[in-house]
Subunit: 307 residues, 2 copies
């Protein structure tokens, strides 16, 4: 029996998943705090220690470990990170850093967390597809693009940063330093701001003092005038951006994930309504589905990526 680890490294927590490779299944997982100091060494040491604990617990040795996959919250190219503010990494070779702690037969791979989630989602489909576009909608809007079964990492690791497509006219500056980004109209902040703005115009059941995205979308499901308009605007711009990517890449599927996608099928339905207006040629029939792997997307994708 062979095993792989999927490691999802965030600024707050590190998730460590131990997976059987074939058939692919989660054996066990745990979550630990991301170390606060010496990030360039301690993140790998803490990861290794918890990997060892998980193996011991299940009476598995490193001889049976095939690979370790990392999902990290920044661009990465050929295992090399130029700058990762969330993890306080600069000019770091992630693959070498982990390999130094492991036996040489163990494969180490790494990619950006949204790319890894895209990979995991695609390979969690009943029949994995060759070409897929994945959106992750949350505080930030990100994504991942799979072409020919592989992550499109790009020249500098910026592949799949679809939340920063310039998609509308906007005065405010985005976190990326530019403006008019998809994230600025479909991210959490934009959703809450727009709901508050509409509250001056329409009656609503939403409690605007303690408003969350969930409240807005729950209201949308009940046809609340504010909730529905907010959901509709998000759906419209996701659809517009998807139509642009579709006429360029003509993917087999578009997968919608991230916290905001918890709105569920109503979001997909509303995206499709707009998408059918925007879409060109045969791309009008591309299916949209909700992501399935949820909070485990990072560890599942990272472990899959080692195979």
């Amino acid at each position: 029996m062979k095993y792989s680890f999927g490691i999802d490294v965030g600024g707050t927590n590190i998730k460590i998943g131990l997976f059987e490779v074939d058939p692919f299944r989660l054996v066990d997982k745990r979550e630990v705090s991301t170390p606060k100091y010496n990030h360039t060494t301690s993140i790998f040491e803490v990861t290794k220690k918890n990997m060892t604990d998980l193996l011991d617990l299940h009476h598995i040795t490193y001889n049976d470990v095939h690979g370790v996959g990392f999902a990290i919250p920044c661009p990465v190219k050929n295992g090399y990170v130029v700058k990762c503010p969330n993890l306080k990494w600069e000019s770091l070779d992630v693959i070498s850093s982990m390999r130094d702690l492991l036996e040489p037969h163990i494969k180490v791979v790494v990619s950006n967390d949204a790319n890894i989630a895209a990979y995991g989602e695609n390979y969690s489909l009943e029949v994995p597809l060759q070409n897929a576009i994945f959106y992750t909608l949350g505080t930030g809007v990100g994504g991942g693009i799979i072409i020919d079964g592989k992550i499109v990492e790009g020249r500098t690791g910026a592949g799949g940063e679809i939340g920063h497509m310039q998609i509308f006219e906007h005065d405010e500056i985005c976190g990326c330093g530019k403006s008019g980004c998809l994230e600025q109209i479909c991210g959490t902040k934009a959703i809450l701001d727009y709901a508050k703005e509409l509250s001056h115009e329409y009656e609503s059941s939403i409690d605007f003092k303690h408003i969350t995205v969930k409240d807005v979308f729950d209201a949308a499901k009940k046809n609340d005038p504010v909730g529905f308009r907010v959901l509709d605007r998000v759906a419209k711009y996701i659809a517009l951006s998807a139509s642009i990517l579709s006429v360029s890449l003509d993917p087999d599927i578009i997968i919608i994930g991230g916290g905001i996608a918890k709105a569920g099928q109503i979001l997909i339905d509303q995206i499709l309504k707009h998408y059918r207006v925007f879409a060109r040629f045969g791309t009008v029939d591309i299916p949209f589905v909700l992501a399935k792997t949820g909070n485990d997307a990072g560890i599942i994708g990272a472990a899959k990526y080692t195979i």
Copy 2:
């Protein structure tokens, strides 16, 4: 010595190029009229006849032919064309149609002409790159996307149709049936219309009665107020669309070809001026170059595609 053919099939002419495979070089080429009747058989018969003539002329036999590559003016997926108005083809298996006329050792491949041009341009670079985006600017605006050294054909063959990215607000309907397409602001018609529109506002040396795109861009080079504004608008929207594709795919290079690209370096310079404002993250440094293969892009790319 091995040889391949590159066949560029257009509505008016068929270009047939005979190439030595290694080192890759053009041996001979010819251009014949596209047959007017029985398109589903006669195009292949005329092609075969001219291939045979070229081989005879150079004392080569079909034993030494490695492959035949086709560039065709419509979407194609796995060799199959649903509809090709320019060639009056419907539900046609291009690969089988040609294979039936050839000895079984000869490989037959086919792709959309803009995709093939993208492939040819990329493989004509001093060092071919893994990921490239190619624009072909002319009456229509098209393109091709190369990822991991391969053409992105997509689910239905619509991959690379970047001229139909929805990039601005527009009232008129594009040939694709939608509106706001890049082609509607950067294609020949848009260029000539905009120049005429500006002629009411600015002094210009352009002869608006017999205006061509070349006149407009020649005037731009002399800093003509109309010519320059038209060139600048084309450059701006190419740059905007390129920034969207770049933040999604982060390619190694962006290649600008087609008749409009004959404007030359001034077009590249102006695109870059706008691109640097639009581009996100490390994609700001992606190089833009002019296409090199010109009118032979189709036959070069198609022959390369057999290898």
